[in-house]
């Protein structure tokens, strides 16, 4: 009660008239804050975000002291950025509030609306009393042109409108943007995420390593969920992908253009292109599966507010060398040293699952991998580290001073020979890597985003008209004086005026107002 009284006792009018408030209610402030944010965003695209400082330095990162001082590798969580975002939020709140007050007051027609400079004048070529002409024109606007009367004055000025009010639509999407901010805030405070690696048949408890920011700030440990997750099956599918024989140099490409050469598709046995990765998951409570779903990229599983996504997969290999009973365990894509072999071995992704062939058929893949021998520089000097963020899809070099040799295809029951050593696969297993996330901000963002889009679309693409008119008698004849305001891209003032002119011309004949249009 006291709080309410205190709030009521605040001098709101005084606050609204203060310089600071007025500054925050200004559009210019919005633009300045947005400009500052653009600066932050740009910096965020120059420095790798969420990267570790050591890794940044190792990969040749520059301006280290600046990076450390301004926390440039984590710029979107710095206090300065958050303060600017908060200031923009306050600016938006004040602007929408002020706009609301303005819109509410505009429901009552303002005095300036009645003083208008007409843009068009039409002679009303009818032999009617002025009042009757007024009535006829009014009916044209209402029945033929479907305007709604907003206000009228006893001395003959009418204001009519048609279409959704652009002012309210503008206000609506700004309010929805405010709700988006709240959605971002909820994500910032309450979301958490982690990863889980599961082998087929494995059951795991969902126990995220990190708590949400909110829980962390209160010293709470991460939440443990009362269900387990089982990977019932992991499926990989591939498309057969022909390779295009096409030159890289520009002159040869011109030769193609002129018809001197023709492109060619060739199909190697190992031309595999990922089609899909699927994990059949079961959510288990007690000893019962309460939910089962096969997830894939773009089709996650949601349970108890947590969403599980198909992120990647991991493959482990046990390599046998000759008949040695001790096998070497490695992960695909990583280098392994095997005694007696000059260099390191690297095993590529094990192709397994179903292959969808180019001719429409499909077949089960006999598991195989590609083996590469990686040799360092003969001087014994280690090659520099590979780039911190190796780009996918193309660059295969592992650094200067490193030599790679493709040994060939190693099938499950086959072998390859390196330095007189027989290398074979003893065993392999494949795991599904799932990321999971709890984010209570998403539903709010989803709905407010839809409102933003709808209101903005109606505002921009729609049509809103306001006409202000009066009928004046001059030199014994009646004239229609009219002003038109339009908003929205499909609003067409010219067409409206043309149609009005046509209807007014028709008015020379008495209009049968009783006949519905």
């Amino acid at each position: 009660m006291t709080i309410l009284q205190n709030i009521q006792n605040i001098n709101w009018q005084g606050i609204r008239e203060s310089k600071l408030y007025r500054r925050f209610a200004s559009l210019k402030t919005s633009c300045i804050l947005l400009c500052i944010l653009v600066g932050f965003y740009t910096i965020g695209t120059i420095f790798p975000q969420d990267a570790q400082l050591d890794d940044y330095i190792k990969s040749g990162g520059r301006f280290i002291s600046f990076v450390i001082f301004f926390d440039l590798l984590n710029i979107f969580n710095t206090p300065v950025f958050l303060i600017i975002a908060i200031l923009l939020f306050i600016n938006l709140v004040i602007c929408t509030f002020e706009r609301f007050l303005m819109l509410r007051s505009q429901n009552k027609t303002a005095a300036e609306d009645w003083q208008f400079t007409p843009a068009y004048t039409f002679p009303l070529d009818i032999n009617q009393e002025l009042e009757s002409a007024e009535e006829s024109v009014r009916e044209i606007f209402k029945k033929e042109l479907r305007f709604k009367e907003k206000a009228s004055q006893t001395y003959g000025i009418y204001i009519m409108e048609k279409g959704w009010s652009y002012r309210w639509l503008t206000w609506a999407y700004h309010i929805a943007i405010l709700f988006c901010f709240l959605g971002f805030l909820m994500t910032y405070l309450f979301s958490f995420e982690d990863e889980i690696t599961l082998y087929p048949g494995e059951v795991a408890v969902i126990k995220p390593a990190a708590a949400s920011r909110w829980n962390k700030s209160w010293g709470n440990s991460p939440q443990i969920f009362d269900f387990k997750l089982e990977l019932a099956e992991f499926i990989t599918e591939y498309n057969q992908l022909p390779k295009l024989e096409y030159p890289a140099d520009k002159l040869s490409r011109l030769a193609f253009a002129l018809g001197w050469k023709d492109p060619q598709y060739t199909l190697k046995e190992e031309s595999y292109f990922p089609k899909d990765w699927k994990s059949r998951l079961k959510a288990i409570k007690g000893n019962m599966a309460v939910l089962e779903k096969t997830i894939e990229v773009n089709d996650p599983l949601s349970y108890q507010g947590i969403t599980f996504y198909q992120a990647a997969y991991k493959q482990m290999l046990k390599i046998q060398v000759d008949d040695n009973p001790i096998s070497f365990e490695t992960e695909t894509g990583k280098e392994i040293i095997i005694p007696g072999i000059d260099g390191m071995l690297k095993f590529g992704t094990i192709r397994i699952g179903t292959l969808f062939k180019k001719d429409g058929g499909m077949e089960k893949i006999r598991p195989f991998t590609e083996v590469t021998l990686v040799k360092k520089e003969s001087s014994g000097k280690l090659a520099p580290d590979p780039p911190l963020y190796p780009l996918q899809g193309g660059d295969k070099g592992v650094g200067r001073g490193t030599e790679t040799e493709n040994i060939g295809k190693l099938e499950q029951d086959g072998a390859v020979y390196i330095d007189n050593k027989r290398i074979s696969i003893k065993e392999f297993k494949e795991a599904s890597i799932l990321s999971y996330r709890y984010d209570p901000g998403v539903p709010l963002l989803w709905w407010s985003g839809i409102v933003v889009l709808l209101a903005m679309s109606f505002r921009v693409f729609g049509a809103w008209y306001r006409i202000t008119y009066r009928i004046e008698e001059k030199d014994g004849a009646s004239h229609l004086l009219i002003k038109v305001n339009t908003k929205g891209l499909i609003a067409d003032e010219e067409r409206l005026i043309k149609r009005l002119k046509h209807l007014l011309e028709k008015m020379t004949e008495p209009i049968d107002l009783d006949t519905p249009v």
């Binding site: 944010l37 120059i46 253009a257 598709y265 089609k275 996504y309 996918q392 899809g393 903005m456």
Partner: protein, 295 residues
């Protein structure tokens, strides 16, 4: 010849037609560009009109090319950068032609539009592989088509908006000083012509908003978070913010002239960064990006 070999030679044959057709279209874009330059230097309307007519030919042929690519790939034709560049050249040109119908004898904005169309086409043809690839798992989403079509439509609109803005800025002083006709522009139509630039940006803004929204919704489904400050995402946000500033600055009395025009041009530059520049930036600085499939 086996079934597979027949399929491969058929695909290679269709691709050879497609690539040559694309070269032909690029050539017409190039001729249009030269004709617009002749119009600029001679101030005669003839070359401008001829360029516009030829641009119609290029755009209609380009529709055929896009349909052929769709048939080849059995999917929407904007997965790779090669395809996106082709789509960009076409969408910018057709948007320009649509807008230009209203402005008889004003051809100057065509210079920027055709230079971008020919630049995008040549970059695709000379530097990118035309190979048709199936959709990778992250791209197999109903958001894919919506996201790309709307984003590119907004890009096309921003290109034309910026072309008009630049023409306005360059020509306004000479038109205002002198009543003589300058490339079809005069005191009477200059401001209305300039207003088209604002209306186009206004048209493109909700499309870009939907492009970002659909991208976020898609990322939420595929990667488990709607926003990751990925360079491509961030540059799209920069573009959106700059255009938001532009649209707002048109309501500020002191800003609605030159500052607003500069924001419009800056928005266009940011749009180019989002589309092409960010790939270069990510490679140059070694910044990881989840959007590498589009690079």
């Amino acid at each position: 010849m086996s079934n597979l070999e027949t399929i491969l030679s058929r695909d290679a044959y269709i691709l050879s037609i497609e690539v040559r057709l694309f070269w032909f279209i690029a050539l017409i874009y190039g001729i249009c560009f030269i004709l617009y330059i002749i119009h600029l230097t001679t101030k005669k309307t003839g070359p401008g009109r001829l360029a516009t007519n030829m641009l119609w030919v290029a755009v209609i042929t380009h529709v055929g090319l896009i349909l052929l690519r769709t048939f080849e790939g059995q999917r929407a034709p904007f997965q790779t950068l090669y395809e996106s560049l082709s789509w960009f050249a076409w969408s910018a040109s057709i948007t320009y032609l649509y807008v230009e119908r209203k402005w008889k004898d004003i051809f100057l904005p065509g210079i920027l539009v055709t230079s971008l169309a020919v630049g995008a086409s040549l970059y695709a043809l000379l530097a990118r592989s035309p190979a048709v690839e199936p959709l990778s798992p992250p791209l197999q989403s109903y958001w894919f088509e919506w996201h790309v079509i709307l984003a590119f439509l907004s890009y096309a609109v921003f290109v034309v908006s910026c072309s008009i803005e630049i023409v306005y800025l360059v020509i306004r002083s000479s038109v205002k000083k002198d009543l003589r006709l300058e490339y079809g522009l005069n005191k009477g139509n200059l401001e209305t012509f300039h207003r088209t630039s604002f209306r186009l940006a206004l048209f493109g803004f909700p499309l870009l908003t939907f492009g970002i929204f659909s991208g976020a919704a898609w990322a939420n489904e595929a990667w488990g978070r709607y926003w990751g400050w990925d360079p491509k995402e961030t540059w799209s946000l920069i573009t959106w913010t700059v255009f938001a500033i532009y649209l707002h600055s048109m309501s500020i009395q002191k800003w609605k002239e030159l500052p607003a025009s500069l924001f419009n041009i800056l928005g266009f530059i940011c749009m180019l960064m989002t589309f092409i520049g960010v790939n270069w930036l990510a490679r140059l600085l070694g910044i990881p990006s989840l959007h590498l499939y589009a690079m």
